[in-house]
Symmetry: D2
Subunit: 284 residues, 4 copies
């Protein structure tokens, strides 16, 4: 924003393990034969929350048939109000475990505190640390001690340096598999929930070797705008997407307004595949 | 940002001529055989300012040979400091006139006040109203009385409703040819000059029938990030781009850091053409 | 926001005439026996707009009897929508001229363009340049050529350096009497129209010798919050206030929600006088 | 920010226990004979962190002699970088315990995770939940189960509704003693660390019965601006201040730039007492 600021940032980059400088090669995270980062473009899709066995099974089977490999769904939900649905907790994890067994989908789910981290890591293939916890340092440290990849979402008001220093907390504890995620920042804008900062992607690509995903669903808050932002995220150089999908958005217990329904997701997935080809990216 | 806000916006949309509602068809602006809007994707390129005959001629000829149809360059420059280069003024317009004659390029240049508006309209094919003047209402009214298309840039702190109401000032005076332009908003971000709000594009497409361009150069302030943001702008549904190009960015009198040099522009132009094809957009 | 940024600002302060450095003494602006700046605390009050003879006369006489010396009211109004009341124009100026003759109040009113500047300067004692015109550079230059003090409001998205560079445009043309005004900035906040940046006042006092007023009415947008913010502005070190007062806020043609009625203003004026005494400031 | 938004907020206020509506009287929190809220104005002062026995003892004795009743100092520090000083942990708590015994000062210190909450509550009189943890919901719930007042700082990007819903998490678990704290929000401003939102104070006073403090030290980040903002916070209606004080700011292990030294604090304390008298507030 200010002349000279950029220079200072580069001079004083306080992160080390997250830095591009000593690591010429991009970090590529491997789960069986699946890869996140490098030339790959990863689609993680699913509902905001596990709600019940039917909902999660139906969505998971649909995604599997579409060719998707990663299912996202929350068992522990960070909700602004104590009166909102807080997630199914351990019961939700158990449902995710069953769905994983049935479909082979990799599970991405969120951890909210240090005590449930070990339990979640038994069920999850990738553990998410959400935007409100980006600077929950004890949680970051506990994620650093876990043997699972961590999906770290940018705080709604975090600078990129702050995001990378939070990644550094995890890396420093010995977990090298950190995936960053841009999900919108707070601005004066009133046309969407937050403002998706796609300009952050090329900057992150200069600064760090870690993969960077984009979550257009939470950023904009309206399903009608998710496809356009998804195409833009692919084109700007992101390593993948987090997309909210629900088999019946109107009845979702949380975030229904921003969830694609199943046919909308199919359509978007086709667009992404076509666009990825011309951009020489491998969708997985 | 707030639940319910969106509804209010739609209920109370205070603009009429700019509104999507009574106009099912997109506005397509025609200059000879060139079209802006509809399925077209328009590239407007050139230096921040006309600096001297050699610079503007060299850049213009290069762009013409590349296949570009629109040249942007400022004769009257709005500069934050009174001690900065303020543009060549009328001399700059005369140089633009000569370049137009030589190359046939359409000229896009900025008007800063109501008194020079008629003079500028003699030389310009499209008159730009800059971000700092988005709510300069006398200037908007004078633009409404001119028989040339107006390129209206979004203010750095303007909501979309405010942008559309500024367009309405022009439309109401009888000039139907208004082109909107997203060029970045002010946020807490320190990684770029401003934050390019690509999420505004699908929203504007819902709200208005007017064409919407994107200016990634001013938004991010770094030439290295312009190609990625240009691809994203095309993919998100914009109707074209404003790109800063300079034959020698290091010696530019203004905005050199964000200007592509000529080979960088060629490379970007190729990428855009390839991507536009798969997105079924016609580059002009 | 970023470590080291402050230092850069100080190293590269690009304004000269506005700078504190070569001017140890505060600028004090004199209008007859009235002073703005120094140890004085100046109250400028009045309606958003001149609406009709009765309204402006009633309010002016009330303010005069209260002991107020400066009347603010717009004849030319910058309105977001072309369909909103745009002010009475020259007729409004004539009404302000009559009220000035009757009451002796000094008149503060806004100029929107370079062509009406001379006319306005015949009626106004202080000419306001509004927040939307803070970077309307031709208007700033024309204000620099006028022999009247200029009240320059900070843009809703302007940094303090940008504000001071806009002041520099006026000072550089030969008009030394510039008064700055903080009136709220655009942020993610949804509890008020804008966020009053009172922290800017001590910073401006370090950076510049020019007087700095605060406009709490436009900043917060609710009359119920104006008294608290007015007390805070006095306590934080501002040189005065711009307060919207209307004899019948519910029927105001603009900004009624944020206008104090006459008894509310009297009450606030008393609070300010008591507080100013303990802070050793002279109210005028 | 948007017309109509305010109405929606009031219609849908989703917090209940925190709401002003069913509680006509302000919550007043009592610790022995000390009171927070009501007509009282509470000063909480001390260093960012407990660094060593000499530092904390010297500062505590100084504050006690000045007449201050509340000492703030962190034992567990949330630091942006994993390479920064992280606080003395339990050793810091033990030092705070000794200082409390010697001086009788009430201790205010921060909890970062659910597991250390019980230990901290043995030493602290008031437990702080910091700005980065405002939406750490498991931490809020654990604070609701503790029998000590909770000082809840507003997140740097939180709306007032979000702040009140976080308070609601604590209240709902059975702890009625919640103190809110405004400490600056993230904006485009580059003149200070964050933008102190003093306009939030009168709004919070309309919305809730809970006491509201202001932390000008963290908000502005410069000790030279703390006195002006402290006076403004008192004048705008806050219930008290959190002030960083260090016996040797230049050698502080964290936040030295924003800490007052001991003579600066004495001077500010005198100003506050004088101003509080005319505003009919009781300093404690």
């Amino acid at each position: 924003m200010l002349e000279g600021v950029e220079q200072i940032i580069h001079q004083t980059d306080p992160y080390q393990l997250a830095s591009r400088k000593p690591h010429n090669e991009n970090t590529v995270i491997k789960l069986d034969n699946l890869k996140i980062g490098g030339g790959n473009f990863t689609l993680i899709a699913g509902p905001c929350a596990v709600e019940n066995p039917e909902q999660i099974t139906k969505t998971a089977k649909f995604l599997k048939e579409e060719g998707i490999n990663f299912l996202r769904a929350g068992a522990y939900k960070p909700r602004t109000s104590p009166y909102s649905f807080q997630g199914l907790g351990e019961e939700g994890l158990i449902l995710l475990g069953r769905v994983k067994e049935e479909t082979g989908l990799k599970i991405v789910t969120e951890a909210l505190d240090i005590n449930t981290m070990p339990l979640i890591s038994e069920y999850a293939d990738i553990i998410q640390i959400g935007t409100r916890n980006m600077q929950n340092f004890p949680l970051l440290k506990s994620a650093g001690a876990i043997n699972k990849p961590i999906l770290l979402k940018r705080g709604m008001t975090a600078t990129l340096n702050e995001l990378l220093l939070s990644a550094e907390y995890i890396l420093k504890e010995g977990n090298p598999n950190v995936i960053l995620c841009e999900r919108g920042i707070r601005t004066f804008n009133d046309h969407s929930r937050t403002t998706l900062d796609l300009g952050a992607i090329p900057v992150l690509k200069e600064k760090t070797h870690l993969p960077v995903l984009v979550d257009p669903s939470h950023a904009c808050g309206h399903s009608s705008r998710v496809p356009a932002l998804s195409r833009a995220a692919l084109s700007v150089g992101a390593d993948g997407l987090l997309i909210e999908v629900h088999d019946d958005p109107a009845s979702a217990l949380s975030d229904g307004l921003q969830s694609l329904d199943l046919p909308e997701f199919s359509k978007l997935y086709n667009q992404i595949q076509t666009l990825a080809e011309v951009l020489q990216r491998k969708v997985n």
